[in-house]
Amino acid sequence: MSIANLSYRAVFSLVLKRDLTIAMRHKDDIINPLLFFVIVVTLFPLGIGPEAQTLSRIAPGIIWVAALLSTLLSLDRLFKSDHDDGSLEQMLLSPHPVFILVLAKIVAHWLITGLPLILIAPLLAVLLHLNEQSYGALMLTLLLGTPVLSLLGAIGVGLTVGIKKGGVLLSLLVLPLYIPVLIFATSAIDTAALGLPYSGQLAIIAALFIGSLTLAPFAVGAALKVSTN
C-alpha cells in the first residue's frame, strides 16, 4: 500500500503552482479582471460627469465597488472549470485534506486577481482625483480587504459550483458578505481624507481577514462536498 508522503506544504505548493501555471498560460486570466476594474472605474465619470469635485467625493466608493465587482466576476474561475472537467472530483478523492487544496486555490486566486488590482489602484485614484491624503489608506484597505473578498467569495463558489448557471446566483450569495468590508474600507479612506487616524477601521478589516482565513477553507471544503454530490 502506498503512503502519500507529501507534507501539507508540498501539496499546497503543488496546487498553487498548477493554478499559477494555468493563469500564466492563459494570461487573460490576469489581465482581464484588471481591465474590467479599469473599465468600470472609467464608466463612472462618463455616467456621472467630469467635475473633479464630485468625482473626488465619490472616488473611494467607486474604486472599492469596482474592486468588489471585479473580484466577483473572476471568482468563477476558482472552481468552475475544475468542476466542469472533472478535476474537482479528483481533488476531493485525493488522500490529502480538502482544506489545504482549497486554501492553495484561494491563494492562487488572490495572487492572480487581487494583487494586480492593488498595484493599479493608485493610477485609477489619479483618474478620479482622489484626495492626496487618502492614498495610504486606499492601499492598506485594499491589501487587507481583497484577500477577504477572495476567501468569502470562495464559499459562494463552492456552494454554486454544481449548479448549471450559477453566475448571478453567486453574486447574490456573495455580495451581502462583502458589505462589511466595503463599509469599513471606504470609511477608512474617507477618514484619511480628513486627516484623521483610521486605524480603527483597519483593525476591523484585519480581524475580518483573520477570521475568514481560518474559517473559509473548511466552509468551502464542506460546500464542495455537498455541491458535487
Binding site: 487573460d28 489581465i31 481591465l35 472609467t42 465619470p45 467630469p50 467635475e51 489619479v126
Partner: protein, 258 residues
C-alpha cells in the same frame, strides 16, 4: 486593376520583399528620429507661454495622430481580408494592433505628463482625452481576441469583425464624448487648440513626425514577418527557411564556443 498587387499577395514573396526593405526603413527611421529628437530637445525654442514643457509636444502629437492612423490602417486591413479573403491582410492587422496600442499609451502618458504642469492635474475628463482612452480599450480588445484564439486564421477573422464594429463606433464615441463634456462643463481646455507654430518649431516637428511614422512602419514590418511565418509554418518554403536558420544558428554557437 488589382493585378500588380497579385505577386505581393503571395506570403513568400511579401516575406522576402519586406525583408529587403526593412533595413532601409530602419535606417531612415533612425536618421529622421535622431535629427528630430535632438533638434526638439536642445535646439527648438521654448514656447513663450508653456516654456520648455512644450517639448513634450514633439512626442505627444505624433504619437496621438499615429495611434489613430494605425487603427484606421487596421480597419482597412480587416475590411480587405473580409471582402476579398486576403489572408495576408489579417497578418498585417495582427501586426498593427500592438504597435497601435503602445502609441496610444504613449499619447496618454505624454499628455498626462504635459497636463500636470499646464492644467495642474494629470487627468481631466476632456473629450479628446476620454476618446483616446477608449481607443486604448478598443486596441486592447483586439489584441486580447488575437491572443484568445489558437488558430491564427480564426483569430484574424474574429478580430477583424471586432475592428470593423469598433470603427463604426469610433465616430459615435468621439461625438458623444465631445457633446457629453461640453454639456457638463465650459471650455476650460481651450488651450488644446492648435498653437500657432513658428518655423523653428515646425521643422523639428516635421522630422519627429516622419521619424515616428517610419519607426511605426519598421516595427509593423518586423511583426508582419513573424506573423507570416506562424501562419505558413507548414509550407515547404518556411520549413527550408527554418532549417537553414537553425543550422546557421548552431554553426554560430559552435564558432562562439571555439
Amino acid at each position: 486593376m488589382w493585378k500588380w498587387l497579385h505577386p505581393y499577395a503571395n506570403p513568400e514573396v511579401s516575406y522576402h520583399f519586406t525583408g529587403k526593405i526593412l533595413p532601409w526603413l530602419g535606417a531612415l527611421a533612425t536618421l529622421f528620429l535622431s535629427i528630430g529628437i535632438i533638434w526638439a530637445l536642445a535646439f527648438a525654442p521654448a514656447d513663450y507661454q508653456q516654456g520648455d514643457s512644450f517639448r513634450i509636444f514633439y512626442v505627444h502629437v505624433p504619437a496621438a495622430s499615429l495611434s489613430m492612423g494605425i487603427y484606421f490602417g487596421m480597419a482597412i486591413a480587416a475590411f480587405t481580408s473580409m471582402v476579398w479573403q486576403f489572408k495576408l491582410a489579417d497578418a498585417s492587422a495582427a501586426a498593427m494592433a500592438p504597435v497601435g496600442a503602445i502609441f496610444t499609451a504613449i499619447a496618454l502618458i505624454t499628455g498626462a505628463a504635459w497636463g500636470k504642469p499646464m492644467w495642474g492635474t494629470w487627468w481631466i475628463w476632456d473629450a479628446r482625452l476620454t476618446s483616446e482612452l477608449i481607443l486604448l480599450f478598443l486596441y486592447l480588445g483586439v489584441i486580447a481576441l488575437h491572443n484568445a484564439f489558437e488558430d491564427k486564421n480564426l483569430a484574424g477573422k474574429a478580430a477583424g469583425i471586432l475592428t470593423l464594429v469598433g470603427v463604426i463606433n469610433l465616430p459615435i464615441i468621439k461625438y458623444s464624448v465631445e457633446w457629453w463634456n461640453t454639456l457638463h462643463q465650459g471650455s476650460t481646455v481651450s488651450k488644446l487648440g492648435k498653437p500657432s507654430m513658428s518655423i523653428d518649431m515646425l521643422w523639428p516637428f516635421v522630422f519627429c513626425f516622419i521619424g515616428f511614422a517610419l519607426l511605426v512602419a519598421t516595427i509593423i514590418c518586423i511583426r508582419f514577418r513573424s506573423e507570416i511565418l506562424t501562419r505558413n509554418s507548414i509550407r515547404p518554403w518556411v520549413r527550408t527557411l527554418v532549417s537553414e536558420h537553425l543550422s546557421k544558428h548552431i554553426a554560430q554557437e559552435k564558432n562562439n564556443a571555439i
